[in-house]
Amino acid sequence: MSGCCDGNVERYKELQTYIDGLPEKKGRLIGVLHKAQGIFGYLPREVQEFIAAALGLPVAKVYGVVKFYSFFTMLPKGKFPISVCLGTACYVRGADDIVAELEKLLGITVGQVTPDGVFSLDTLRCVGACGLAPVMIVAGHVYGRMKPADVAGIIGEYRKKAQASGQEKTCEGVCCHG
């Protein structure tokens, strides 16, 4: 990859191809948003405007839908997104203590990203692994039967990974249109 903008052109092109391939445009907004979030990682204003134009919808309508559904995010996630399950089974087995420990260790609250962009912290509801409650997910990897004391070690491992790959800088931002 030569520069950051090339990556974005590719991304917008991929989204456009997906939209062009739809059998009809009516009622497809949510599907397109899913696709876009999959491509870009999040849904910044520029991407929402692009989608509105491509589907012939007012930007306000796109924004209204993005805001309504908690799955959609307008903020980029960390390199290693962390989510803690706050479903009932995890909650009664102490998931809130895990969240508190993470907030303490990372110095951020739920919904935020660490200043170095390595971690983001979110909560979600029941991932269907209640037998392993409480459950924490880091970059897609599920950690079960968590205790607050286990958190530091796991975070430490990912910190090391982040440092190891920190040298090569890649463009994660969405800085321009395609």
Partner: protein, 597 residues
Amino acid sequence: MTNIKMHVLVCGGTGCTSSRSMEIVDALRAEIKAQGLADEVKVVIAGCFGFCEKGPIVKISPDNTFYVQVTPEDAKEIVAEHIVKGRKVSRLLYVDPKTTEHISDSKHMDFYKKQLRIALRNCGFIDPENIGEYIARDGYMALGKAIFEMSPKQVVDEVKKSGLRGRGGGGFPTGLKWEIAASYKADQKYVICNADEGDPGAFMDRSVLEGDPHSIIEAMAICGYAIGASKGVVYIRAEYPLAVERLQKAIVAARETGLLGNNILGSDFSFDIDMYYGAGAFVCGEETALIRSLQSERGEPTSKPPFPAESGFWGKPSNVNNVETFANIPVILLKGADWFASIGTAKSKGTKVFALAGKVNNVGLVEVPMGTTLREVIFDIGGGIRNGKKFKAAQTGGPSGGCLTEKFLDTPIDFDNLIAAGSMMGSGGMIVLDEDDCMVNVAKFYLGFTVEESCGKCTPCRVGNKRMLEMLEKISAGKATEKDLSRLRELATIIKDTSLCGLGQTAPNPVLSTLDNFYDEYLAHVRDKRCPAGKCKSLMQYVIDPAKCKGCTMCAKVCPAGAIAGKVKEPHVISQEKCVKCGACFATCKFGAISKR
């Protein structure tokens, strides 16, 4: 393919894959190949076996050996000992906690003995990604029977006669719903499968989709035939990637086999299914909100009537059913309505799947005949309460439900009995609570959930529930008075009566139910400023017992607030003013000198 003598089934459900079950699959396959047995022994990634507590599970057939808590490192021994030499690996067998005996066959485990699996009939038995295995277990026979031997009306009548009621929460008679949808004339009708499974802590729909996706496809097609619809739509949570993938593959396989698409099985009945993804809004489980969401709008409910059966997806007659409801349909057609109606209680027929979780020994998926008691589910199947603690309550119905206390342990579980007991069936989440759980806190948890998930369309729900939550917060902070308790009840009743949709109408239930059953506990918070379970942090104090404290100074070192003082080898003291109640000292003390009060 012809020489397969043995099947090794590995759980590919979400719980077990989180515990590396796919690595087990790879290790087993490699080992079997190394032993030159690849033609005789087949490793199958199956759906959830239900016994999630002891996952990852590996089951070997035909001898039905049931291995628990298997690791990838165990693969070598399983292959060398069991598969090659026919000797079971006893250290991986389930140990009965009562008799301490090793049990090799799942049929003899207490967890399975009282279960009757209809909706989960194939979960853990077949490879969900292989349509042939579904067909081999009578799959798509019910669809064939419906198309070639029954009229649409006969299908509706059979479902009506079975007494099946919706498993998504409402308990509406399914046959009647189909009859209404069939009665409308339209150029296009839709069959909608509600796979939004919003109850946090419930995972039965997900397991059916992951473990037996063809049963849903078959049932939707049968429904399409019965009501005169050629299109099916599944609304599925995007948070369930494995279920999405399996269902997608199953739809493609069904199309390729001629079981979906035009002229199914050569008949003149055509039916196909499309998938739509939810995006993390609980209210979209409500059928009118779901339909709005399918149309890519904000998922705000609309008032009924018109019901979806009259005007649903794109204004066309639509029949909405839950995943588990559909999973029962093929069996009803094959075994007959009379057989189905012979199971269960007078007004609740068949079985119900519960996602048993919380403070119970055997967390997992449990399917029992309607009319089974709570005691059987929690103590016989669930193995009782963890760590020898005392049972306090079982919460059913999720954020819309209530809690069932000890006095209801012997009540037969069915739709009507649970409502009479002040809770509801809901979709099947069952959370077991023990003496350490604070009921004010539990009510606060559920209400916090509904406040977050309220779509905001109507005021009682948007504002009222928020006020209730604030009152609960006041109670757990020890700042409330007895008058607040009566105001809480009053507000709850108003919200129930005036909200537009089921979310608002049922949101106060967890509060009312805990107020009814645990009023003393509320009073303790309000009057004595005390949380009997020690959960409400602002009412709790950490104290050091001077008799037990060795003066090791560990706690003072970990305390982030510098609240602990004391000299080496002398008893330490916690300053209650400075303490931030993080519990770090409690977790650190090796001498059990710190307690919560």
